[in-house]
């Protein structure tokens, strides 16, 4: 049984190695789906994303995206005939600039932008409101058919903030425009931030083990050693 597997093993290993290398070098960085899978073409010349990407050192265009070290920092889905955001839209959560203009978009779901904490400039068709509401953005401008939401505000601060609603041992943190979240603070962790620190296994079991062995030996010697087997 071992014999036939032997010649196969190095081949398998090579195969795995090759795959790993391919993953690391050949197709790396793996292009996010959103850059080409959502809408064909490339970033439009003269768009906000193109300008942003050109000015940013270390960033490069790929399909519809502006990538920086494999992370999407800009996304231009302008003129894509989208009625809804693509399922892979979440891949762009690291984006700083997003352009969704010239689309017949339906209002996106409330938490479509959850996790988009870096987003600073969002260009939308004028029919749509800025996500999270107008008081979640520093500056909102409309130019013809375009609405530009600029400067995402921290949803935990100010009148619209929900920071005070976070339960004990957790603090409000921004999770996208108008989307607060509650994260455990300091030493607290686990479900509902109920836990604190890590259990000292070594100390506990060391002490317990030593005491158990010590007492067992002591009692065996003083008590049970004299017991006659009956």
């Amino acid at each position: 049984m071992a014999a036939p597997s032997r010649p196969g093993a190095p081949g398998l290993l090579l195969c795995l190695l090759g795959g790993a290398i391919a993953a690391a070098w050949g197709s790396a960085p793996p292009a996010p789906q959103i850059c080409s899978g959502c809408c064909a073409g490339s970033v439009r010349n003269g768009s906000a994303v193109a300008g942003f990407c050109g000015a940013r050192a270390g960033a490069g265009l790929l399909g519809r995206c502006c990538l920086e070290r494999a992370a999407v920092v800009g996304l231009d889905l302008g003129n894509c005939s989208l009625s809804q955001l693509c399922p892979s839209f979440r891949e762009a959560s690291t984006a700083i600039v997003i352009d969704l203009t010239v689309n017949q978009l339906e209002p996106p779901p409330e938490d479509a932008f959850r996790g988009f904490t870096q987003l600073q400039t969002l260009a939308l068709p004028v029919e749509l409101d800025c996500p999270g509401g107008s008081n979640m953005w520093d500056n909102i401008t409309t130019q013809g058919h375009i609405r530009i939401c600029q400067g995402q505000r921290n949803p935990c601060n100010g009148s619209g903030g929900l920071g005070w609603l976070c339960p004990e041992d957790s603090l409000c943190a921004p999770d996208g425009p108008g989307l607060p979240q509650c994260l455990c603070v300091g030493p607290y962790h686990g479900y509902k931030c109920l836990r604190q620190g890590t259990f000292p296994y070594l100390l506990f079991y060391g002490t317990l083990g030593a005491v158990t062995i010590g007492l067992s030996i002591l009692l065996w010697v003083t008590q049970r050693r004299k017991v006659k087997a009956s």
């Binding site: 609603l165 999770d175 509902k192 158990t212 002591l218 009692l219």
Partner: protein, 504 residues
């Protein structure tokens, strides 16, 4: 005085010369049961954390769901804390019932197998069940109501091995003469266990409730191991004389050692036998093997004491379970304060058990002491139900109530159970101790389980005052059940007085 020479060995029995074996047995059994009780206490002390873990966060309105979802709302065993609390209450009742059933069985098992093995097995296996219940299920995030129920039934059965075994071992080592006092002191083990459990749970609860279970289960397991290596179940094992022969006046022992009483004499000794065995003749009832369940039930006093204990344990356990709740709901005191204050009931019970045990040792009669204490208990219950809104006064009356209710309760479950299990009728085998203890405590636990339900029912429909009337009724029933025993003991007491006088 001719009696003075004889009196010396009699005194030796009343203040027995304890060997280091006695001390080891006392401490081992004491802490075995303490650890078993500690793991029960842990469960009630982590209830808040557990119900938190089992429920999603419920911020008043659904529009504002806390994010991220995994952190705040991913657990859905129960929709809200209220239902989780209800389930935890159900687990308590399930535990008490399976514990009661287990007690009947464990006693029988304990008398037939080596009690060291049974106790050690019970402690280790119940520790494993608690570990799976509280720790493993949390590590695997496996939350299932039926799984929890099944584990708690098994835990009740396994935990029940503890009490009959430790009482039987104590009964083997400590003779009837000093039993009331020693057992009174020893029955503090449940209260010490409560304090130990509360301490262990609170010191690791910050790491997560699963570690409270981990710690108590580990300590209990270690206790089981130590018991296995250290417990000597009977003086026979190390070649010491059995206390039964030494203290209770067995036929084979030398005459001096047969006298269990200060100022006792030969004619008294016969009376003593009469009272314990009633009509039975010791020589005509030799039982070579361990006693059967029904035989044990038929032993004089077992059924009456069991029924009395059912009523009394109902009241006693209701105090344990409901006192903090009563204090915080009736007087509006904070829960943590109410928890601390309710310790005074325990304190009263420990002192009561010890002092009443001592008195009963001196009198050589337990039933009259019980009766007087229980009649005073009715009075203290009336007083407690009218306690003013003052923590000091309340604590004092609470301690007094504990003294008169907890004291007799401790005495029946330990010293009297041991008396019943080692009486003359079963002298031949002396393997009835665990069975009898199981019957008495099992009946008591059924009473306690039913009581938990009844108290919540009465309290909800009729109010706290009726709960106290119910307690008074139950305490009076206890007196009623032990009345036949008192009548018998009093008549023996009266019958022996002239004999004593003539001797002195």
């Amino acid at each position: 005085m001719p009696g003075s020479l004889r009196r010396q060995p009699a005194n030796r029995v009343l203040v027995p010369q304890f060997t280091h074996h006695h001390v080891a047995v006392f401490l081992l059994t004491f802490f075995s049961y303490s650890l078993l009780h500690a793991s029960r206490k842990t469960f009630s002390n982590v209830k808040v954390s557990i119900s938190s873990q089992w429920t999603p966060s419920c911020l008043n309105d659904t529009a504002l769901q806390l994010q991220p979802y995994e952190l705040w709302n991913s657990s859905h065993l129960f929709p809200d804390i209220g239902e989780a609390t209800l389930f935890l209450g159900t687990l308590d009742t399930i535990f008490l019932f399976s514990y009661a059933v287990g007690l009947f069985v464990s006693g029988i098992v304990g008398d037939r197998l080596n009690m060291r093995w049974v106790l050690s097995f019970g402690m280790c296996s119940s520790a494993l069940v608690v570990f799976v219940f509280g720790t493993v299920s949390e590590w695997l995030h496996f939350y299932n109501k039926w799984f929890y129920c099944c584990l708690w039934i098994v835990n009740g059965l396994l935990q029940s091995t503890g009490w009959p075994c430790v009482v039987a071992v104590m009964g083997n080592w400590f003779g009837k003469a000093g039993r009331g006092f020693v057992f009174g002191l020893w029955s503090a083990c449940a209260s010490v266990g409560n304090i130990l459990g509360a301490f262990l749970a609170s010191s690791v609860l910050q790491y997560g409730y699963e570690y409270a279970f981990l710690v108590t289960a580990s300590v209990q397991f270690a206790g089981g191991v130590i018991v296995f290596f250290g417990l000597v179940t009977s003086p026979k094992e190390v070649g010491l004389p059995e206390v039964g022969e030494e203290g209770d006046g067995g036929g084979a022992a030398e005459e001096d050692a047969r006298e269990p009483l200060m100022g006792g004499n030969d004619s008294y000794d016969e009376d003593d036998q009469n009272y314990t065995i009633q009509a039975a003749d010791p020589s005509s009832s030799p039982q070579p093997r361990a006693i059967g369940f029904f035989q044990a039930c038929c032993l004089p006093g077992v059924i009456l004491y069991s029924l009395a204990y059912a009523c009394l344990k109902l009241v006693n356990y209701s105090f344990f379970f409901w006192l903090p709740f009563y204090l915080s709901s009736n007087f509006g005191w904070k829960e943590a304060e109410a928890d601390k204050l309710s310790i005074w009931y325990d304190v009263g019970g420990i002192i009561g058990g010890t002092i009443q045990g001592l008195i009963s040792d001196v009198l050589q009669k337990r039933a009259p002491v019980l009766a007087i204490s229980l009649i005073l208990a009715v009075g203290s219950l009336v007083g407690y139900s009218r306690s003013p809104n003052s923590k000091v006064i309340n604590a004092v009356i609470m301690a007094i109530t504990g003294f008169f209710i907890g004291g007799p309760s401790n005495m029946i479950s330990s010293a009297i159970s041991a008396d019943l299990g080692r009486q003359e009728m079963v002298r031949g085998s002396s393997e009835a101790l665990a069975t009898v203890t199981g019957i008495v405590d099992g009946t008591g636990s059924i009473g306690a389980a039913v009581g938990q339900y009844l108290v919540s029912l009465i309290q909800e429909n009729l109010g706290w005052m009726w709960v106290f009337y119910f307690f008074i009724l139950m305490t009076s029933s206890t007196v009623l059940f032990i009345t036949p025993l008192i009548v018998r003991e009093i008549s023996v007491l009266l019958g022996e007085t002239p004999v004593r006088r003539s001797a002195g």
